[in-house]
């Protein structure tokens, strides 16, 4: 019954939505004010697509029951990832993890490498892992790197991943492992739920719509995704992912580096060193070797052999060159010796030459070093991914949110995922505005990074349902641009008297109001009483964060610029509300309030119409109510019932 009602509402929302937006585009655009009319209709189209994707998500909403018994003899590693969280917090989670009933090994993955934590782990018989020395001076890849490092030294068939502030229920494995009896299941995600959040949830920490209808809907399309914590993964699936990624990367690297050798050799030939016939001869040898390697690559030779042979040939060429140089010295020495002069101190004697040749042929000292670009390119023709700490990286490192990218790739390999809708871990949410904003920015940046690097719509190995489910989440992070227009349009009318619509007549209301009503009804029925208003507020109110996420992620992906953003100085809670963090929103609120005054004056003066004024005043009121959540958030002093450190940042 509920499913029928949901589908009916989805269909109605779509029909009424298309009816309204089509009328907006075709009949009602006020072209004389195109600069506000076009942005507004684009924003409205954005929202229609957003709600359509939501409709598609809940169309196949899947409510699973119990998981059944765990696979017999299942071995599990429980990973607790930490970087700088307080030790008692980490230990609280670790000891709760140790108490999980199903047999398992518990590991603390300490990216902070803190000796105190190591001692505590040893004291309680917990596993403790830090990065191996391979990671020194190489990209660390944050949490994904931390997990990838641990995967190489542990051996459980399944991995339960927990953030340091997510305290697991003793039954978490017994309740979820059963889903892995399906041999194609790679991931079981459970909800993230926070204990340090008051009922009115001022910071919008709980995500009941996401850890509920949205994940259940994605599950229906076999696209429930990994959210970084409170999830169980199958090691075989992750390793397979790592291997396929390794083959892809290595093939790309070798091909790319071989292609670049041509240009590097050309450049080297123009360098002053190449004037020396010995160096020129060596460059000939290297060129011949790389040409052979290119031919082998085309013919499909295994990459280990190809790269090994190339390296050997290049080493041999370097060696021949050095030998030639030394033969010259040797000949000179021989002629000196023939003069029968008494030997001087420090003179090199022929028997020492052999070892000198050896030393000089080593890659870093060889004459190739003089031709730096060639050497660099040749080093990249390699199967061991010299730029990475580990050749095999099971968790995706293309984004600061490794979870979504990893899940998408697992689905691409044909693995299945499960969303298990039962709270089996109790977490801590940020308790101050600044930490919350930082966290949302990071999630948004990560999501946009994945969109730009591996657009789900273009992933041929995903089904269309799966592509759209991933795309839906990414699309929702573009809402910042639409929000700006939704704030600007009523101000423009009230202050300037310019309507983006040709008329606010019966035609408008008869199309707009049914769409809005059915749309809200859909949320109401799908939500089944869960509070969704907070989420709706924040999706508009955090518009500066969403926009910043899009611009920084785009600059990062397209121009290789760091994601980093100016870190505002740490504001202590007792320093009062952190108004400076929400300055753009406060300015918007001021403008909206001023527009109310100006609009009233203009109405009294007969400059604005009564209907237009009424609609836009209601609109401004809605905007102000939406934004008011930030005032509550900025003044929020932290969670009361128990004193907790505000440093408990959700990883």
């Amino acid at each position: 019954m509920n499913r029928f009602l949901v589908r009916l509402l989805v269909v109605l929302t779509l029909l009424l939505g298309v009816n309204y937006i089509a009328w907006r585009w075709l009949e009602s655009l006020n072209w004389s004010a195109w600069w506000i009319a076009v942005p507004l209709v684009l924003a409205e189209t954005y929202s229609l697509i957003d709600v359509s994707l939501f409709g598609l998500t809940v169309w196949r909403l899947r409510r699973r029951g119990k998981a059944g018994a765990p696979p017999p003899g299942a071995t599990v590693d429980v990973f607790i990832t930490t970087y700088d969280e307080p030790l008692d917090l980490v230990m609280g989670t670790a000891l709760a993890a140790q108490a999980i009933r199903h047999p398992h090994s518990t590991w603390i993955l300490d990216d902070g490498a803190r000796p105190e934590l190591e001692a505590l782990a040893a004291e309680h018989g917990l596993g403790y892992l830090t990065r191996s020395e391979d990671w020194a001076d190489r990209p660390r890849h944050a949490k994904a790197g931390n997990l990838n490092n641990a995967l190489m030294t542990t051996q459980g068939e399944f991995l339960l991943i927990l953030d340091a502030d997510q305290v697991p229920d003793p039954g978490i494995l017994d309740r979820t492992l059963g889903w892995f009896n399906d041999r194609k299941v790679a991931l079981v995600q459970t909800p993230q739920w926070f204990v340090n959040v008051p009922r009115h949830d001022p910071l919008g920490s709980q995500a009941p719509l996401f850890y509920g209808p949205i994940q259940q809907g994605k599950d229906g399309w076999n696209a429930a995704f990994f959210c970084g914590s409170n999830a169980i993964l199958r090691r075989e699936a992750l390793m397979q992912l790592g291997l396929s990624g390794y083959v892809r990367e290595v093939e790309h690297d070798v091909k790319d580096a071989l292609a670049r050798t041509r240009a590097a050799l050309r450049k080297a030939r123009r360098s002053p060193e190449a004037a020396n016939p010995v160096v020129a001869g060596m460059l000939d040898d290297v060129e011949a070797a790389t040409e052979r390697a290119r031919a082998e690559l085309k013919a499909g030779a295994p990459l280990t052999e190809l790269t090994y042979r190339l390296q050997r040939e290049v080493d041999a060429a370097a060696r021949r060159t050095v030998t030639r140089d030394f033969s010259q010295i040797e000949a000179d020495l021989a002629s000196i010796a023939a003069l029968e002069l008494p030997p001087e101190d420090g003179m090199v004697w022929p028997d020492e030459l052999a070892s000198a040749v050896d030393r000089m042929s080593r890659r870093d000292l060889s004459p190739l070093a003089a031709v730096e670009p060639v050497r660099e390119v040749l080093e990249a023709v390699s199967v061991d991914r010299p730029g990475e700490a580990q050749p095999v990286m099971p968790l995706a490192t293309i984004s600061v949110t490794e979870d979504m990218a990893t899940a998408m790739r697992l689905h691409g390999l044909g693995w299945r995922s499960v969303y298990h809708h039962e709270i089996l871990a109790h977490g801590l949410a940020p308790e101050d505005l600044k930490t919350m904003l930082t966290q949302r920015l990071r999630w948004a940046q990560g999501t946009v990074q994945v969109l730009l690097r591996e657009n789900p719509l273009l992933q041929r190995r995903l089904g269309w349902g799966q592509r759209l489910m991933y795309f839906a989440t990414m699309w929702s992070y573009l809402s910042g641009f639409a929000a700006v227009v939704y704030f600007a349009a009523p101000i423009v009318y009230l202050v300037l008297g310019i309507l983006p619509v040709t008329s606010l007549s019966w035609d408008f209301f008869v199309r707009f109001i049914p769409f809005m009503v059915v749309n809200q009804l859909l949320f109401l029925v799908v939500g089944r009483g869960i509070p969704t208003w907070r989420g709706q507020q924040y999706s508009l109110a955090l518009f500066p964060i969403w926009i910043r996420a899009c611009t920084t992620a785009a600059r990062n992906v397209w121009f290789g610029r760091p994601l980093g953003f100016a870190v505002t100085p740490k504001v202590r809670q007792d320093a009062g509300p952190a108004w400076h963090l929400i300055r753009p929103q406060l300015v918007v609120m001021g403008l909206l309030a001023a527009a109310l005054v100006v609009g009233t004056v203009r109405l009294a003066a007969g400059l604005n119409e009564p209907v237009g004024t009424l609609v836009n005043v209601a609109w401004v009121a809605f905007d102000l109510v939406v934004l008011s959540v930030l005032v509550t958030a900025a003044r929020y002093p932290g969670f009361e019932p128990e004193e907790r450190s505000a440093d408990a940042v959700h990883g």
């Binding site: 051996q155 390793m239 390794y246 290595v250 280990t304 199967v383 991914r385 050749p391």
Partner: protein, 110 residues
């Protein structure tokens, strides 16, 4: 998983017997790391006695390949059974790692 190491004139011959899976993988890494540390950078992993290999086992082979390469040598695999060959092909890893018929054939051209 049992490993035996035998020093041949031109390479270290490591034989793995049993299942090279998530349990055997870290062990293989240790064995190869020790062999390379002791100065043999030409390594052949003889998989004639390896009845099963999973992605973790294959991942360990790649890790060991890196160790040997960093030491200026190479790691090669030989004598694989059908299941292992299937895993190599399933993951496209045969594009990278070529299985040789016998351990002696592995470094025959070197």
């Amino acid at each position: 998983m049992q490993f035996t190491v035998e020093q041949k004139p031109r390479y270290a011959h490591i034989t793995g017997t049993g299942r090279l899976n998530m349990v055997g993988a870290p062990r293989l890494r240790e064995v190869v790391s020790k062999v390379v540390d002791e100065g043999s950078n030409h390594v052949v992993i003889d998989l004639g006695g390896t009845e099963f290999m999973d992605s973790s086992g294959l991942g360990a082979l790649i890790g060991c390949l890196k160790l040997a390469r960093q030491a200026g040598g190479d790691l090669r695999i030989a004598n694989v059974r059908p299941q292992v060959r299937m895993v190599l092909e399933l993951t496209s890893m045969h594009r990278v790692l070529n299985p040789y018929d016998t351990a002696d054939a592995a470094f025959a051209d070197d």
